[in-house]
C-alpha cells in the first residue's frame, strides 16, 4: 500500500516542514540538486566547537524530500560532526539495505518504506547528500546523480 510510504509523520513534515527558512549566521552551507526531478535544496548549519547548534533548509521538492530534510534538520541539532556523519550512514543503510533499522535512528525510521520504491530513494537522500557536502565544506552544488 502506498500508505506505507506516505506515513502520517512524513505527510505532516511535508505539509508543515520544520526549520524551513534561510539562516542568518550559518557557517556551513551547501546546495543539493536532483536533476531527475528538478528538486533543489539549500542547507544551512551553525557548527560551533564541532557541534551542530542549528540546522535549517529551504527549497522545493516532493513530499519525501521535504519531509526528509525537515526531519533531518530536527535530528541534527546537538549532534557532533562525527555523530551527524554516523547518522547519515545509518540513514543511507536504512534506505538501501535489508539490515534492520538502527535503534538510534529515532523518528527517521518512518522512511523505511522508501526501500520498496527504488525510484524514490534519491528523493529521501537528497538532504543527506547535501549534509555531507556541508560538513565536508564542499562549495559546488552536490547532485544525486
Amino acid at each position: 500500500m502506498v500508505d506505507d510510504l506516505y506515513q502520517e509523520l512524513i505527510l505532516d513534515h511535508s505539509k508543515r516542514p520544520r526549520n524551513c527558512h534561510p539562516m542568518e549566521g550559518a557557517n556551513r552551507k551547501a546546495e543539493g540538486y536532483n536533476p531527475l526531478c528538478g528538486d533543489k535544496l539549500k542547507l544551512y548549519l551553525k557548527v560551533e566547537d564541532g557541534v551542530v547548534r542549528d540546522a535549517s533548509f529551504e527549497g522545493s521538492g516532493c513530499a519525501i524530500s521535504t519531509a526528509s530534510a525537515s526531519l533531518m534538520t530536527e535530528s541534527l541539532k546537538g549532534k557532533t560532526r562525527e555523530e551527524a556523519i554516523k547518522l547519515l550512514d545509518k540513514f543511507h543503510d536504512l534506505l538501501t539495505t535489508d539490515t534492520p533499522a538502527a535503534k538510534d535512528l529515532g523518528k527517521l525510521v518512518v522512511f523505511c518504506g522508501v526501500r520498496d520504491y527504488p525510484a524514490r530513494v534519491k528523493c529521501a537522500t537528497l538532504a543527506w547528500h547535501t549534509l555531507r557536502s556541508a560538513l565536508e565544506g564542499v562549495d559546488t552544488p552536490v547532485t544525486t546523480e
Binding site: V2, L5, C37, G38, D39, A63, Y117
Partner: protein, 415 residues
C-alpha cells in the same frame, strides 16, 4: 459527457485494438494497467513482436553481404521496411531514408555531418523554446565548435510558438531551423509547413523533429517541404533502437559521412576510400536488423488501423481528458495550445509530480513525472516538473476516468 463517450466508441473499436497489445492485459500492483506514458515509449502490438521473433527464429543473418539464403531473406525484409517508410512519409525515393537509432541520432547526424560542412563562425541556428533536449544539445555542440549562434523562438502561455518573433529571428546568417512537429512536454502541434516555408524564404534549411508526430498524424515530407525529418520506431509502436532520418537526396549527397565503417564504403585502400551511395553512405556497421524489420511491421500495423482514424479518436480522447482534468480543483494544465495532440501535462497546487506519480503507480496508472527532457519548457512555465499523461489510440475513456479518480485521491492525501 455521455454523448461524447458514445461518439468516441461509435467511431473506433478500441477493445478490439487493445487485444493486439499483450502488455495491456496485465495487472500492476493488483490493478489493471492504465498505460499513459506513450510519449516516452508506446507499447508494441503482437504483429511487431512476432516479426522480431520470426527474424531471430527463422531468418537471422547479416544483411547486404551474404550470398546465402538467410542473408538474402533478412536483407529483403530489412530493405522492405525502407519501402514502407517511403510510403509512410511520402518521400520521393527510398534512398532518402536513413536508418538510425532514433530521432536523437537522426538529429545528431545532421548536426554533425551537414553542420560541420556548412556552418561557419557567425552563422545562426534557430530552435524553439519547446524543444526536447535532443533538438537543442546537438546544435549547441555544433555552435560551440563553429562559433555559431543558437537562437530560440519564444512560446506564449498556451505553449504556442510566437510566429512573429520567429520571423524576426530569421536573417541572412540563419542556416538551419530545427523545430518539433509536436511538443513532447506540451502536446502543441506546430505549424511546420509555415515554419519550413519561412526558413526557406530566408535561405535556411529546416529540420523537423517528428518523434511525437509520426504516431499520431499523417506526415507528408513533400507537402511539408522539410529538408530533414526524423522519427523514432519505438514511439510508433515499433521496437526501441531504430528510427529514420529523412533527408532530401540533393542535401544528403552533398554531406560527408557521419560514421565510417563497413557498408558505407564502395572501395577502401590505405590511400583513398570512396563512399557508397545513399542511403548506405550514412549506415556504417551492422544495423539493428531485427529492429528495422519490427519497424516495418509497426508501419503496416498503423496503416491497417489508419492514421486518420487514430487521429480522430485521440482527438476526442484528448478533449474528454482535458474536460475530466479541468474538473479537479487546483490542477493546472501546462500546454493549452489550440492545435494539440495526445498530451495532458499538468501541475497540482502544493503537490509534487513525483508524489503524484508514485500514488498513481500504486493504482496501476503509469504516467511520466519530471522535466520530460525539456527543461527550458519547465523554466518558461515556472515549474520544476510536471506530471504528464500521454495518450495512444489504445487508451479509453474509462482509463481517463481512472486517472481522474486517482488524482482526486492524490489530492485527498496531500491536501
Amino acid at each position: 459527457m455521455s454523448a461524447l463517450v458514445s461518439t468516441i466508441q461509435a467511431g473506433f473499436d478500441v477493445e478490439k485494438v487493445r487485444g493486439d497489445f499483450p502488455v495491456l492485459k496485465q495487472k500492476v500492483h493488483g490493478k489493471p494497467l492504465v498505460y499513459l506514458d506513450n510519449a516516452a515509449t508506446s507499447q508494441k502490438p503482437l504483429a511487431v513482436i512476432e516479426a522480431i521473433r520470426k527474424f531471430y527464429e527463422v531468418d537471422c543473418a547479416n544483411i547486404h553481404r551474404g550470398v546465402h539464403e538467410l542473408s538474402q531473406r533478412s536483407t529483403a525484409a530489412y530493405e522492405q521496411t525502407r519501402v514502407k517508410v517511403k510510403q509512410f512519409l511520402n518521400a520521393r525515393t527510398k534512398n532518402e531514408l536513413i536508418f538510425v537509432r532514433g530521432t536523437t541520432e537522426g538529429i545528431n547526424l545532421v548536426a554533425s555531418s551537414w553542420g560541420r560542412k556548412c556552418v561557419k563562425s557567425g552563422d545562426e541556428i534557430v530552435v524553439s523554446g519547446m524543444e526536447h533536449h535532443s533538438n537543442i544539445v546537438p546544435w549547441q555542440i555544433l555552435c560551440e565548435e563553429k562559433g555559431a549562434k543558437l537562437r530560440v523562438i519564444p512560446i506564449d502561455d498556451r505553449g504556442e510558438l510566437l510566429m512573429e518573433e520567429y520571423e524576426k529571428l530569421l536573417g541572412p546568417r540563419t542556416r538551419m531551423v530545427a523545430v518539433a512537429h509536436v511538443s513532447n512536454a506540451l502536446g502543441t502541434v506546430n505549424p511546420v509547413r509555415e515554419i519550413v516555408e519561412m526558413a526557406h524564404k530566408a535561405g535556411a534549411l529546416a529540420l523537423i523533429d517528428g518523434a511525437q508526430a509520426a504516431p499520431h498524424m499523417k506526415v507528408d515530407v513533400q507537402a511539408l517541404d522539410a529538408d530533414f525529418y526524423a522519427f523514432s520506431g519505438h514511439k510508433l509502436f515499433g521496437p526501441t533502437g531504430v528510427g529514420v532520418l529523412y533527408g532530401k537526396s540533393k542535401l544528403l549527397n552533398a554531406m560527408p559521412p557521419y560514421q565510417g565503417g563497413g557498408d558505407m564504403i564502395r572501395t577502401v585502400t590505405f590511400e583513398k576510400t570512396t563512399y557508397n551511395d545513399l542511403p548506405y553512405k550514412f549506415e556504417a556497421g551492422t544495423p539493428n536488423i531485427a529492429g528495422g524489420i519490427g519497424l516495418g511491421a509497426a508501419v503496416d500495423y498503423v496503416n491497417r488501423i489508419g492514421l486518420d482514424k487514430i487521429g480522430a479518436y485521440e482527438h476526442e480522447l484528448l478533449a474528454y481528458g482535458t474536460e475530466a482534468l479541468s474538473q479537479i480543483g487546483g490542477l493546472r494544465l501546462i500546454g493549452t495550445a489550440r492545435q494539440k495532440a495526445a498530451v495532458l501535462s499538468f501541475v497540482m497546487e502544493g503537490i509534487h509530480p513525483h508524489d503524484i506519480g508514485t500514488v498513481l503507480d500504486r493504482m496501476g496508472i503509469a504516467v511520466r513525472t519530471g522535466h520530460h527532457c525539456a527543461q527550458p519548457v519547465m523554466d518558461r512555465f515556472g515549474v520544476p516538473a510536471t506530471t504528464r499523461a500521454s495518450l495512444a489510440f489504445y487508451n479509453t475513456t474509462a482509463e481517463i476516468d481512472a486517472l481522474a479518480a486517482g488524482l482526486t485521491k492524490v489530492k485527498e492525501m496531500f491536501a
